[in-house]
């Protein structure tokens, strides 16, 4: 075929798209802003719902992108992006010019910057961390406080930066409930003496095997689930965290002292995505993610013919969905280029 497709973003979606397209025989360039591909997967220790190691998925993705002649450009971003007749001219940060027949945007998501929820004190109180920081601890194989002691009482706050008008994010990030459940179990596994409390508004267990994991967390691991959004945290003289929350099922306010607080940071449109939306004239929605042309049957299509989306740059998705969405983008590209000879 010999058509050239440029894929922007080397996370799960970008790798899957690039791998599949190159397998079929397209010429593929994959542009990644970091020094290595894999995106958020690199930071995660194990994945929900089955808690397999994230490295296994990474291996799969490496497998399909290896030896297929993909032109991989790391440490590269995009400076210019123009449509010219039926092709695209892309100028990279390295000053290279790429001519593409089609473009797939797979710029993924950024984790919500938890310091913006000022009342939780991320970056201010010593032992307030995010879900990503906790994965880092899992990978290092130790969960410890800043004074190197082991936490006993750990709180997990759901919906940090999601479902929250105050930070401008009305939507649900969809994955943080199950991440909380997974991490709660893992904390209990690492620290059998610990107590873990999840503070949630709704348990959104809408994926395959999620509900089962939730039940396991309760039955097997004794994780406590308290229905109420945490209102604030503060630091006590003995370096613990005092939180205020309402146990809404009991209908009374509650104060609790914890050793460690884990924030389930939500997902936001990535900075890289925003930049491309700006220079490429791609439409975004009220939630700032890329807006596809149709929610039901056009979720890969952008407002520009020949530019397609794959993965979480359009909405929060788990890995299964991301890979399916990426494959669907491949179909769209084939369909588009077939008409566009």
């Amino acid at each position: 075929m010999g058509k050239h497709v440029v894929v922007i973003g080397g996370g799960v979606a970008g790798l899957e798209v690039a791998g599949q397209l190159s397998k079929i025989g397209f010429e593929v360039s994959l542009i990644e802003k970091d020094s290595r591909t894999g995106g958020h997967l690199n930071k995660w220790y194990r994945l929900f719902p089955d808690r397999r190691r994230s490295s296994e998925v990474k291996e799969y993705l490496n497998g399909i992108t290896a030896n297929n002649g993909i032109n991989l450009m790391t440490d590269t971003s995009i400076e210019k992006f123009n449509r010219h007749k039926d092709h695209f001219i892309i100028i990279t940060s390295g000053g290279r010019e790429l001519i593409a027949d089609a473009v797939i945007v797979a710029t993924g998501f950024d984790l919500f910057k938890s310091a913006r929820k000022e009342e939780y004190g991320y970056g201010i109180y010593d032992n307030v961390i995010t879900s990503a920081d906790l994965e880092e601890m899992f990978r290092r194989g130790e969960i410890s406080l800043t004074n190197n002691t082991i936490p006993e009482k750990i709180g997990i706050i759901h919906c940090v930066g999601s479902r929250d008008e105050k930070v401008g994010n009305f939507y649900c990030s969809k994955l943080c409930c199950v991440t909380a459940v997974k991490q709660a179990i893992e904390i209990r596994e690492f620290l059998p003496e610990s107590k873990v409390f999840c503070f949630y508004m709704d348990m959104r267990m809408g994926g395959a095997l999620y509900e089962e994991l939730y039940r396991e967390a309760q039955e097997k691991w004794g994780v406590s689930f308290i229905r109420g959004k945490v209102s604030e945290a503060s630091e006590t003289i003995d370096n613990k965290l005092l939180i205020k929350v309402e146990d809404t099922l009991a209908g009374r306010p509650l104060k609790m002292k914890l050793d460690l607080l884990v924030l389930m940071a939500g997902m936001e449109m990535s900075e890289g995505g925003k930049k491309i939306a700006g220079i490429g004239g791609l439409r975004t929605g009220e939630n700032r993610f890329f807006a596809a042309t149709d929610n039901h049957y056009g979720s890969n299509k952008s407002n520009i013919a020949g530019v397609f989306y794959a993965g979480t740059c359009t909405a929060p998705m788990n890995i299964t969905e991301t890979i399916s969405h990426a494959r669907a983008a491949v179909v769209e590209v084939i369909d588009y280029l077939k008409d566009n000879n």
Partner: protein, 235 residues
């Protein structure tokens, strides 16, 4: 259904204060009143958003709408951009307009407030005008307050005040023309009507309770509402 809700909507604070509540409890969690009283602002917001006349009537006659301290800590945090404190202000206003406030012990206290801070405002132009308001009404003010009260004019003079004087300055006498303007504003905007309402419904209630209620504060009903706490409000 919804008649009282529509009345609430006439209050701009209500419109500002309520989008939709998802019962997260963030407001109750930091509410100083919820810590002290048997009180849950989340519940009030949730009841109001049903638009159910029966539920709203119950609220308007309840003790619970009078527990809020209007600190607005809830407004800072609500993830839906609600302000329970503003919703409660609208409920309290409506409760007084409809005369429901005398149905609760805490609501009846509105007369005590009207005859102190309300009276000072339209008489002197100050919400607080404390010469002569001693430690019998305010024992917590302590011996220093007795000393201040005993030497009021000298103390204020030493503090550089212009007590009851002409021109600008601390606790100056506000000119009668200015006070006329304030009272006219109260008339034009419904402030006076609220005051009259409070008096009228309180008198009715006093009669019902068989208590004497004359002008001022030295009467049975005033002292009763000012001091009574039946002990059922706190946890």
């Amino acid at each position: 259904m919804g008649k009282l809700y529509d009345l609430l909507l006439e209050d701009v604070r209500f419109e500002e204060g309520l989008n939709a509540c998802m019962n997260c409890g963030v407001c109750t969690a930091i509410c100083p009143a919820a810590e002290f009283y048997i009180y849950d602002p989340r519940k009030i917001v949730d009841d109001v958003q049903t638009k159910d006349d029966e539920k709203i009537t119950e609220l308007l006659k309840s003790e619970t709408i009078w527990y809020c301290g209007e600190c607005m800590s809830c407004k800072t945090r609500c993830p839906r951009g609600n302000a329970p404190g503003l919703i409660i202000m609208a409920l309290r206003s409506l409760s007084q307009d409809l005369g429901f406030f005398t149905e609760s012990e805490k609501g009846r206290q509105q007369l005590a407030l009207k005859r102190t801070v309300g009276h000072w405002m339209i008489t002197y132009g100050y919400c607080l005008y404390l010469e002569g308001v001693g430690t019998s009404m305010h024992p917590e003010q302590g011996p220093v307050w007795d000393w201040i009260q005993d030497n009021w004019k000298e103390v204020f003079k030493k503090m550089g005040a212009n007590y009851q004087g002409d021109g600008p300055g601390i606790l100056r006498r506000i000119p009668e023309e200015a006070m006329d303007e304030i009272r006219e504003i109260f008339k034009v905007t419904g402030g006076m009507r609220r005051f009259e309402n409070i008096e009228e419904f309180s008198k009715k209630k006093a009669k019902e309770l068989n208590m004497q209620l004359d002008d001022g504060i030295e009467n049975e009903y005033f002292q009763h509402i000012y001091k009574t706490n039946n002990g059922s409000h706190t946890r």
